[in-house]
Point group: C2
Chain length 142, copies 2
Amino acid sequence: MTMALEQAEAAARRGEVPVGAVVVCGEDVLAARGNETRQAADPTAHAELLAIREAAARLGSERLTGCDLYVTLEPCPMCAGAISHARLARLYFGAEDPKGGGVLNGPRVFSSPTCLHRPEVYPEIGASAASELLRGFFQQLR
Amino acid sequence: MTMALEQAEAAARRGEVPVGAVVVCGEDVLAARGNETRQAADPTAHAELLAIREAAARLGSERLTGCDLYVTLEPCPMCAGAISHARLARLYFGAEDPKGGGVLNGPRVFSSPTCLHRPEVYPEIGASAASELLRGFFQQLR
């Protein structure tokens, strides 16, 4: 989660919403990415999606079976869907996101009876540091 | 929708689940893509996500405000989330997907009170041709 927070800090320095994500498989870090939606002009360039795509490319497989995702903020419905498609085993996330989250909040993607793959979910991991970063970023914008 | 069906047929010829998507803005077709998850070894490479990313890159904007998406199958939760992030105005889709869909089925992403942007949704546009393609594809696999 420390690496994910570093990615979030780097995103903030680029003027992006500070969210970072890391895909880990056993001892190996397969991908560590920060949010890039503005810079890349890509509405799908959330940290989670970028990290999942990079990890899948590295493994040459569309499935990340047995791998884990660490992300500083509760994933949105788009990213929750991607986590399920990628068959990630465990999801560790920092701050809960009552407005934009899709795991414990909103459409609660993994709780749908039609969800084909649910990771184990561990919320509130390093949540205070992640929240602090987001709060600081949005305060600066005002 | 004819173009989306052509993309779905091309996907089937590549051994991919036959789904196609087109982003249109006024008279302009900004992107037309088919499913590429196997070929690209990318769990996020659904037709909708690829078309949205390509259209956003063409406009140099993370928002596709006023643009429409045509897709041959009901979008999954991941793609529904991306449609919302991209601020697409209208979603036209072919066959309903009771197993994997995230619009009329499953977590019904746009129906969540926290969903920030909901497109107008027009289901069952060219549904029989889209279903036929999918049925043929999965029958061949058995």
